[in-house]
Symmetry: C2
Subunit: 130 residues, 2 copies
Amino acid sequence: MTSETMTIRQMCDLFDVTPRTLRFYEAKELLFPVREGQRRLFTRRDRARLKLILRGKRFGFSLEEIRQLLDLYYVGDRQETQLSRTLDIAQDRLNDMERQRAELNEAIDELRNQMQLVGDMLSSRHSAAQ
Amino acid sequence: MTSETMTIRQMCDLFDVTPRTLRFYEAKELLFPVREGQRRLFTRRDRARLKLILRGKRFGFSLEEIRQLLDLYYVGDRQETQLSRTLDIAQDRLNDMERQRAELNEAIDELRNQMQLVGDMLSSRHSAAQ
DNA sequence: AGAAAAGATGACGTTGACGTAAACGGGACG
DNA sequence: CGTCCCGTTTACGTCAACGTCATCTTTTCT
């Protein structure tokens, strides 16, 4: 079931990505599957990271931006300067996301209004056509 | 100042894009500058569209998705079937954006929590170092 | 054991969204 | 008049994020 480590195929099925994608993310140092001989085994850590990666992508962040953010979640034994640098980056991303949210709210409202307008146009055409 | 039509350079300065970008958008039928001889003149309509384009991009939409949406805003004399098709597309985008907003809220909360955690770690190191 | 399936590596291909360079034309101006 | 500078077209280059082979081991099934 949710065994400690997973094969590449299990990961693909679970997250709906291709093997190529996972190997690519490893090459870009976003994931760090351990090796059992030749084969990759993905850990819980990899799963957590992949989840964040895919979410980041949905927000339009680049893999590189995401990579920097990921370091926030697996802190390990990093230096203090390292850590506070990571915090700074995170703060920047947070600001991005809040700006994005504000803009998104605006855009949603505008889009709704515009749809309303066009919708009304359509229905008035109908009543005129009667 | 805000004259009726603008040259390519004025547009670039106003929206912080390159000429190449504007020509590219024209080629992709996202903008329709009129021609004065050889030269492009961008209208108010183009400015409104460009604003929406750039916003759409910030939300991670592709130019093609954006192009379809733009048709919602300059309705003109289009067919009814055309219009309701456009409305459908708009509804899809609206759903996208609302999903994105929900997820964004979640992600912002999580990121804040995580930053709090790391921040606490840092300050506790400091007090321990005293 | 033999065949099929899964996984790895390496290399090249692709798509979207532009960048960049070459070659040309037409006003502006010193 | 020569020469910038802005703008145009055409064409090739680039970068991210994978897709798609081809080729080679390694398991796994029967």
